[in-house]
Assembly symmetry: C2
Homo-oligomer: 211 residues x 2
Protein backbone atom coordinates (compact mmCIF):
# COMPACT_ATOMS: atom_id res chain seq x y z
CA UNK A 1 0.00 0.00 0.00
CA UNK A 2 1.52 3.28 -1.18
CA UNK A 3 1.73 6.12 1.34
CA UNK A 4 2.22 9.81 0.55
CA UNK A 5 3.20 12.47 3.06
CA UNK A 6 3.41 16.13 1.96
CA UNK A 7 5.54 18.56 3.94
CA UNK A 8 3.44 21.63 3.28
CA UNK A 9 4.61 25.19 3.84
CA UNK A 10 1.90 27.85 3.78
CA UNK A 11 1.86 30.12 0.69
CA UNK A 12 4.44 28.04 -1.12
CA UNK A 13 4.90 25.71 -4.07
CA UNK A 14 3.70 22.80 -1.96
CA UNK A 15 0.20 24.06 -2.79
CA UNK A 16 0.82 22.51 -6.21
CA UNK A 17 1.32 19.08 -4.71
CA UNK A 18 -1.90 19.17 -2.69
CA UNK A 19 -3.79 20.23 -5.81
CA UNK A 20 -2.21 17.47 -7.92
CA UNK A 21 -3.06 14.87 -5.29
CA UNK A 22 -6.65 16.10 -5.17
CA UNK A 23 -6.92 15.96 -8.98
CA UNK A 24 -5.57 12.41 -8.87
CA UNK A 25 -7.93 11.41 -6.05
CA UNK A 26 -5.11 10.02 -3.91
CA UNK A 27 -4.96 9.71 -0.14
CA UNK A 28 -2.20 11.62 1.58
CA UNK A 29 -1.05 13.04 4.88
CA UNK A 30 -0.05 16.68 5.40
CA UNK A 31 2.67 17.88 7.77
CA UNK A 32 2.20 21.62 8.25
CA UNK A 33 4.99 24.23 8.36
CA UNK A 34 4.60 27.99 8.71
CA UNK A 35 6.77 30.66 7.14
CA UNK A 36 8.83 32.77 9.50
CA UNK A 37 8.12 36.53 9.65
CA UNK A 38 11.15 36.96 7.35
CA UNK A 39 9.28 34.83 4.78
CA UNK A 40 11.93 32.10 5.08
CA UNK A 41 10.88 28.50 5.63
CA UNK A 42 11.32 27.23 9.20
CA UNK A 43 14.54 25.38 9.92
CA UNK A 44 12.86 22.05 10.70
CA UNK A 45 12.16 21.36 7.01
CA UNK A 46 15.93 20.79 6.78
CA UNK A 47 15.41 17.63 8.82
CA UNK A 48 13.44 16.22 5.90
CA UNK A 49 15.52 17.52 2.96
CA UNK A 50 18.87 19.36 3.13
CA UNK A 51 17.70 22.26 0.96
CA UNK A 52 15.11 23.08 3.62
CA UNK A 53 12.44 24.15 1.14
CA UNK A 54 8.89 23.07 0.45
CA UNK A 55 7.57 20.96 -1.03
CA UNK A 56 9.19 17.82 0.18
CA UNK A 57 7.09 14.75 -0.46
CA UNK A 58 7.62 11.29 0.98
CA UNK A 59 6.34 8.62 -1.39
CA UNK A 60 6.68 5.28 0.35
CA UNK A 61 10.28 5.54 1.55
CA UNK A 62 11.51 7.98 -1.08
CA UNK A 63 11.97 11.67 -0.21
CA UNK A 64 11.40 13.89 -3.25
CA UNK A 65 11.76 17.65 -3.70
CA UNK A 66 11.30 19.98 -6.71
CA UNK A 67 7.61 20.70 -7.24
CA UNK A 68 7.63 20.33 -11.04
CA UNK A 69 9.29 16.96 -10.75
CA UNK A 70 6.88 15.77 -8.07
CA UNK A 71 3.83 16.75 -10.14
CA UNK A 72 5.27 15.09 -13.24
CA UNK A 73 6.12 11.95 -11.30
CA UNK A 74 2.75 11.67 -9.51
CA UNK A 75 0.83 12.05 -12.77
CA UNK A 76 3.01 9.47 -14.56
CA UNK A 77 2.82 6.97 -11.75
CA UNK A 78 -0.74 7.35 -10.51
CA UNK A 79 -2.63 9.21 -13.26
CA UNK A 80 -3.68 6.15 -15.27
CA UNK A 81 -3.28 8.24 -18.40
CA UNK A 82 -5.06 11.33 -17.09
CA UNK A 83 -3.54 14.84 -17.11
CA UNK A 84 -0.78 14.13 -19.64
CA UNK A 85 -0.78 13.27 -23.35
CA UNK A 86 0.11 9.79 -24.50
CA UNK A 87 3.89 9.42 -24.89
CA UNK A 88 3.48 8.34 -28.51
CA UNK A 89 1.50 11.48 -29.41
CA UNK A 90 2.94 14.64 -30.96
CA UNK A 91 1.70 16.58 -27.92
CA UNK A 92 4.06 14.81 -25.55
CA UNK A 93 7.10 16.96 -26.43
CA UNK A 94 5.02 20.08 -25.79
CA UNK A 95 3.90 18.64 -22.45
CA UNK A 96 7.48 17.96 -21.34
CA UNK A 97 8.50 21.45 -22.43
CA UNK A 98 5.67 23.05 -20.48
CA UNK A 99 6.31 20.93 -17.41
CA UNK A 100 9.85 22.37 -17.31
CA UNK A 101 9.06 25.91 -18.45
CA UNK A 102 7.27 27.33 -15.37
CA UNK A 103 10.15 26.68 -12.96
CA UNK A 104 12.97 26.64 -15.50
CA UNK A 105 12.24 29.93 -17.28
CA UNK A 106 9.19 31.78 -16.01
CA UNK A 107 9.96 31.56 -12.31
CA UNK A 108 13.45 33.18 -12.18
CA UNK A 109 12.35 36.69 -13.21
CA UNK A 110 9.25 36.40 -11.02
CA UNK A 111 11.45 35.42 -8.08
CA UNK A 112 13.68 38.40 -8.77
CA UNK A 113 10.59 40.60 -8.80
CA UNK A 114 9.69 39.21 -5.39
CA UNK A 115 13.19 39.76 -4.01
CA UNK A 116 13.13 43.35 -5.30
CA UNK A 117 10.01 43.96 -3.25
CA UNK A 118 10.98 41.99 -0.17
CA UNK A 119 14.63 42.71 0.51
CA UNK A 120 14.10 45.38 -0.97
CA UNK A 121 16.53 45.81 -3.88
CA UNK A 122 16.95 49.46 -4.85
CA UNK A 123 19.11 49.04 -7.97
CA UNK A 124 17.18 50.71 -10.82
CA UNK A 125 19.05 48.88 -13.60
CA UNK A 126 18.20 45.51 -12.12
CA UNK A 127 14.60 46.56 -11.51
CA UNK A 128 14.13 47.59 -15.14
CA UNK A 129 15.88 44.49 -16.43
CA UNK A 130 13.71 42.25 -14.27
CA UNK A 131 10.50 43.99 -15.31
CA UNK A 132 11.39 43.49 -18.97
CA UNK A 133 12.06 39.77 -18.45
CA UNK A 134 8.73 39.33 -16.62
CA UNK A 135 6.82 41.09 -19.41
CA UNK A 136 8.47 39.02 -22.14
CA UNK A 137 7.44 35.81 -20.42
CA UNK A 138 3.90 36.87 -19.59
CA UNK A 139 3.34 37.96 -23.21
CA UNK A 140 4.62 34.60 -24.39
CA UNK A 141 2.34 32.64 -22.07
CA UNK A 142 -0.61 34.88 -22.90
CA UNK A 143 -0.01 33.92 -26.53
CA UNK A 144 0.07 30.21 -25.71
CA UNK A 145 -3.40 30.51 -24.19
CA UNK A 146 -4.94 32.55 -27.02
CA UNK A 147 -8.15 30.85 -28.06
CA UNK A 148 -7.87 27.90 -25.70
CA UNK A 149 -8.71 27.07 -22.11
CA UNK A 150 -5.74 24.74 -21.43
CA UNK A 151 -2.17 24.51 -22.66
CA UNK A 152 -2.09 21.03 -24.19
CA UNK A 153 -4.75 19.86 -26.68
CA UNK A 154 -7.19 22.11 -24.83
CA UNK A 155 -7.47 19.53 -22.03
CA UNK A 156 -6.42 20.06 -18.41
CA UNK A 157 -2.96 18.61 -17.75
CA UNK A 158 -0.09 18.81 -15.31
CA UNK A 159 1.28 21.68 -17.38
CA UNK A 160 -1.71 23.88 -16.50
CA UNK A 161 -1.29 23.01 -12.85
CA UNK A 162 2.42 23.86 -12.96
CA UNK A 163 1.82 27.18 -14.67
CA UNK A 164 -0.92 28.35 -12.32
CA UNK A 165 1.32 28.85 -9.28
CA UNK A 166 3.72 31.10 -11.21
CA UNK A 167 0.89 33.14 -12.66
CA UNK A 168 -0.59 33.56 -9.19
CA UNK A 169 2.82 34.85 -8.13
CA UNK A 170 2.97 37.19 -11.11
CA UNK A 171 -0.47 38.46 -10.25
CA UNK A 172 0.67 39.31 -6.74
CA UNK A 173 3.92 40.82 -8.00
CA UNK A 174 2.80 43.17 -10.69
CA UNK A 175 -0.56 42.13 -11.93
CA UNK A 176 -1.90 40.17 -14.85
CA UNK A 177 -4.36 42.91 -15.76
CA UNK A 178 -2.70 43.54 -19.14
CA UNK A 179 -2.88 39.84 -20.01
CA UNK A 180 -6.53 38.93 -20.44
CA UNK A 181 -5.89 35.27 -21.25
CA UNK A 182 -3.80 34.84 -18.10
CA UNK A 183 -6.29 36.44 -15.73
CA UNK A 184 -9.07 34.24 -17.09
CA UNK A 185 -6.84 31.16 -16.96
CA UNK A 186 -6.01 31.65 -13.28
CA UNK A 187 -9.68 32.15 -12.44
CA UNK A 188 -10.57 28.99 -14.38
CA UNK A 189 -7.92 26.95 -12.57
CA UNK A 190 -8.84 28.29 -9.13
CA UNK A 191 -12.47 27.36 -9.78
CA UNK A 192 -11.65 23.66 -10.17
CA UNK A 193 -13.12 21.51 -7.42
CA UNK A 194 -9.80 19.75 -6.79
CA UNK A 195 -8.09 23.13 -6.40
CA UNK A 196 -10.73 24.20 -3.92
CA UNK A 197 -10.31 20.99 -1.94
CA UNK A 198 -6.54 21.56 -1.83
CA UNK A 199 -7.14 24.99 -0.28
CA UNK A 200 -9.59 23.51 2.23
CA UNK A 201 -7.01 20.95 3.34
CA UNK A 202 -3.83 23.01 3.05
CA UNK A 203 -5.11 26.24 4.51
CA UNK A 204 -5.43 29.79 3.28
CA UNK A 205 -3.25 30.54 0.26
CA UNK A 206 -1.96 33.93 -0.83
CA UNK A 207 1.13 35.00 -2.74
CA UNK A 208 0.54 38.68 -2.03
CA UNK A 209 3.55 38.84 0.28
CA UNK A 210 3.80 42.06 2.21
CA UNK A 211 7.01 43.28 3.75
CA UNK B 1 13.28 9.67 -41.34
CA UNK B 2 13.59 11.88 -38.25
CA UNK B 3 15.42 15.19 -38.65
CA UNK B 4 16.88 17.31 -35.86
CA UNK B 5 18.01 20.91 -36.24
CA UNK B 6 19.63 22.71 -33.27
CA UNK B 7 19.58 26.49 -33.14
CA UNK B 8 22.86 26.92 -31.29
CA UNK B 9 23.94 30.11 -29.55
CA UNK B 10 27.60 30.27 -28.53
CA UNK B 11 28.31 29.96 -24.79
CA UNK B 12 24.72 29.05 -23.97
CA UNK B 13 22.53 26.20 -22.79
CA UNK B 14 22.30 24.88 -26.34
CA UNK B 15 25.71 23.31 -25.63
CA UNK B 16 23.71 20.77 -23.60
CA UNK B 17 21.71 19.73 -26.61
CA UNK B 18 24.76 19.15 -28.81
CA UNK B 19 26.31 17.05 -26.05
CA UNK B 20 23.12 15.02 -25.56
CA UNK B 21 22.87 14.38 -29.30
CA UNK B 22 26.52 13.24 -29.39
CA UNK B 23 25.94 10.90 -26.42
CA UNK B 24 22.92 9.48 -28.23
CA UNK B 25 24.83 9.12 -31.51
CA UNK B 26 22.16 10.98 -33.48
CA UNK B 27 22.58 12.95 -36.69
CA UNK B 28 21.68 16.62 -36.53
CA UNK B 29 22.14 19.96 -38.19
CA UNK B 30 23.40 23.08 -36.40
CA UNK B 31 22.28 26.63 -37.15
CA UNK B 32 24.79 29.00 -35.53
CA UNK B 33 23.96 32.22 -33.66
CA UNK B 34 26.37 34.56 -31.94
CA UNK B 35 25.75 36.55 -28.78
CA UNK B 36 25.68 40.32 -29.14
CA UNK B 37 28.34 42.37 -27.31
CA UNK B 38 25.66 43.03 -24.65
CA UNK B 39 25.56 39.23 -24.08
CA UNK B 40 21.97 39.13 -25.36
CA UNK B 41 20.96 36.59 -27.99
CA UNK B 42 20.57 38.02 -31.52
CA UNK B 43 17.06 39.01 -32.52
CA UNK B 44 16.75 36.46 -35.31
CA UNK B 45 16.27 33.59 -32.84
CA UNK B 46 12.83 35.15 -32.25
CA UNK B 47 11.89 34.02 -35.76
CA UNK B 48 12.21 30.44 -34.55
CA UNK B 49 10.68 30.76 -31.07
CA UNK B 50 8.96 33.83 -29.57
CA UNK B 51 11.10 33.81 -26.40
CA UNK B 52 14.17 34.38 -28.59
CA UNK B 53 16.46 32.22 -26.47
CA UNK B 54 18.64 29.22 -27.16
CA UNK B 55 18.32 26.36 -27.41
CA UNK B 56 15.50 25.94 -29.81
CA UNK B 57 15.41 22.52 -31.39
CA UNK B 58 13.36 21.43 -34.39
CA UNK B 59 12.52 17.75 -34.20
CA UNK B 60 10.74 16.81 -37.40
CA UNK B 61 8.16 19.60 -37.55
CA UNK B 62 8.00 20.33 -33.84
CA UNK B 63 9.79 23.37 -32.40
CA UNK B 64 10.90 22.78 -28.81
CA UNK B 65 12.57 25.11 -26.30
CA UNK B 66 13.68 24.63 -22.66
CA UNK B 67 16.97 22.77 -22.51
CA UNK B 68 16.05 20.45 -19.64
CA UNK B 69 12.91 19.40 -21.42
CA UNK B 70 14.72 18.81 -24.71
CA UNK B 71 17.36 16.62 -23.04
CA UNK B 72 14.70 14.63 -21.18
CA UNK B 73 12.66 14.20 -24.35
CA UNK B 74 15.59 13.19 -26.58
CA UNK B 75 16.76 10.58 -24.07
CA UNK B 76 13.26 9.15 -23.65
CA UNK B 77 12.55 9.04 -27.36
CA UNK B 78 15.91 8.00 -28.81
CA UNK B 79 17.95 6.62 -25.91
CA UNK B 80 16.76 3.02 -26.17
CA UNK B 81 16.99 2.82 -22.40
CA UNK B 82 20.37 4.51 -22.07
CA UNK B 83 21.06 7.54 -19.83
CA UNK B 84 17.95 7.18 -17.66
CA UNK B 85 16.78 4.59 -15.14
CA UNK B 86 13.95 2.25 -15.96
CA UNK B 87 10.59 3.85 -15.14
CA UNK B 88 9.66 0.97 -12.88
CA UNK B 89 12.82 1.34 -10.77
CA UNK B 90 13.08 3.23 -7.51
CA UNK B 91 15.72 5.48 -9.13
CA UNK B 92 13.27 6.96 -11.59
CA UNK B 93 11.79 9.49 -9.13
CA UNK B 94 15.31 10.67 -8.29
CA UNK B 95 16.06 11.00 -11.99
CA UNK B 96 12.98 13.15 -12.62
CA UNK B 97 13.83 15.29 -9.60
CA UNK B 98 17.39 15.83 -10.82
CA UNK B 99 16.28 16.56 -14.37
CA UNK B 100 14.19 19.45 -12.99
CA UNK B 101 16.56 20.61 -10.26
CA UNK B 102 19.38 22.24 -12.29
CA UNK B 103 17.11 24.73 -14.07
CA UNK B 104 14.32 24.83 -11.51
CA UNK B 105 16.36 25.51 -8.39
CA UNK B 106 20.12 25.72 -8.94
CA UNK B 107 20.05 28.07 -11.93
CA UNK B 108 18.10 31.05 -10.49
CA UNK B 109 20.73 32.07 -7.90
CA UNK B 110 23.51 31.43 -10.43
CA UNK B 111 21.72 33.64 -12.95
CA UNK B 112 21.40 36.33 -10.32
CA UNK B 113 25.12 36.03 -9.64
CA UNK B 114 25.74 36.54 -13.35
CA UNK B 115 23.43 39.58 -13.49
CA UNK B 116 25.19 41.07 -10.48
CA UNK B 117 28.46 40.89 -12.38
CA UNK B 118 27.16 41.89 -15.80
CA UNK B 119 24.70 44.71 -15.26
CA UNK B 120 26.30 45.29 -12.69
CA UNK B 121 24.01 45.27 -9.64
CA UNK B 122 25.47 47.26 -6.75
CA UNK B 123 22.89 46.41 -4.06
CA UNK B 124 24.85 44.84 -1.18
CA UNK B 125 21.83 43.17 0.40
CA UNK B 126 20.95 41.40 -2.82
CA UNK B 127 24.58 40.44 -3.40
CA UNK B 128 24.86 38.81 0.01
CA UNK B 129 21.49 37.11 -0.31
CA UNK B 130 22.45 35.71 -3.72
CA UNK B 131 25.82 34.48 -2.52
CA UNK B 132 24.13 32.62 0.35
CA UNK B 133 21.67 30.94 -2.02
CA UNK B 134 24.48 29.86 -4.34
CA UNK B 135 26.49 28.38 -1.47
CA UNK B 136 23.48 26.47 -0.11
CA UNK B 137 22.90 24.85 -3.47
CA UNK B 138 26.53 24.04 -4.20
CA UNK B 139 26.92 22.42 -0.78
CA UNK B 140 23.82 20.35 -1.44
CA UNK B 141 25.04 19.15 -4.84
CA UNK B 142 28.52 18.50 -3.47
CA UNK B 143 26.84 16.20 -0.96
CA UNK B 144 24.90 14.38 -3.65
CA UNK B 145 28.17 13.52 -5.37
CA UNK B 146 30.02 12.40 -2.23
CA UNK B 147 31.52 8.99 -2.92
CA UNK B 148 30.12 8.61 -6.43
CA UNK B 149 31.02 9.62 -9.95
CA UNK B 150 27.47 10.15 -11.24
CA UNK B 151 24.18 11.27 -9.69
CA UNK B 152 21.93 8.27 -10.38
CA UNK B 153 23.01 4.72 -9.50
CA UNK B 154 26.58 5.82 -10.22
CA UNK B 155 25.92 5.61 -13.97
CA UNK B 156 26.02 8.51 -16.41
CA UNK B 157 22.52 9.87 -17.11
CA UNK B 158 20.74 12.91 -18.44
CA UNK B 159 20.79 14.30 -14.91
CA UNK B 160 24.61 14.54 -14.96
CA UNK B 161 24.47 16.26 -18.32
CA UNK B 162 21.89 18.75 -17.08
CA UNK B 163 23.86 19.56 -13.96
CA UNK B 164 27.18 20.10 -15.72
CA UNK B 165 26.18 23.32 -17.49
CA UNK B 166 25.10 24.96 -14.25
CA UNK B 167 28.26 23.90 -12.46
CA UNK B 168 30.34 25.29 -15.31
CA UNK B 169 28.45 28.55 -14.82
CA UNK B 170 29.05 28.44 -11.08
CA UNK B 171 32.73 27.85 -11.71
CA UNK B 172 32.88 30.96 -13.88
CA UNK B 173 30.81 32.96 -11.43
CA UNK B 174 32.55 32.35 -8.15
CA UNK B 175 34.47 29.16 -8.36
CA UNK B 176 33.95 25.59 -7.30
CA UNK B 177 37.27 25.49 -5.48
CA UNK B 178 35.63 24.90 -2.10
CA UNK B 179 33.62 21.98 -3.48
CA UNK B 180 36.01 19.19 -4.32
CA UNK B 181 33.36 16.79 -5.57
CA UNK B 182 32.00 19.39 -7.97
CA UNK B 183 35.34 20.36 -9.47
CA UNK B 184 36.16 16.71 -10.11
CA UNK B 185 32.69 16.07 -11.50
CA UNK B 186 32.96 18.87 -14.06
CA UNK B 187 36.40 17.64 -15.14
CA UNK B 188 35.05 14.10 -15.50
CA UNK B 189 32.10 15.27 -17.60
CA UNK B 190 34.22 17.51 -19.83
CA UNK B 191 36.56 14.58 -20.49
CA UNK B 192 33.80 12.50 -22.08
CA UNK B 193 34.33 11.88 -25.78
CA UNK B 194 30.79 12.92 -26.64
CA UNK B 195 31.29 16.20 -24.76
CA UNK B 196 34.52 16.83 -26.67
CA UNK B 197 32.78 16.14 -29.98
CA UNK B 198 30.02 18.60 -29.06
CA UNK B 199 32.67 21.29 -28.53
CA UNK B 200 34.34 20.42 -31.82
CA UNK B 201 31.04 20.81 -33.67
CA UNK B 202 29.50 23.69 -31.70
CA UNK B 203 32.58 25.83 -31.32
CA UNK B 204 34.54 27.20 -28.41
CA UNK B 205 32.61 27.19 -25.14
CA UNK B 206 33.22 29.41 -22.14
CA UNK B 207 30.92 30.69 -19.43
CA UNK B 208 33.54 33.07 -18.05
CA UNK B 209 31.60 36.09 -19.25
CA UNK B 210 33.51 39.31 -18.98
CA UNK B 211 31.84 42.69 -18.94
Amino acid sequence: MMTIKVHHLNNSKSQRILWALEELGLDYEIVFYKRQPSFAAPDDIKNIHPLGKAPVVEIDDFVMAESGAVVQYLIERYGEGKFMPDRSSSSYAKYIELMHYPEGSLSPPLLDQLFIRMLPVEDETFKGFTQQRVMNHLSYVDGLLEGQDYLIDNEFSGADLQLTFNLQGANAGGGLRHYKNLEAFVQRMEARQAYQRSIDKGGEFSLGFKK
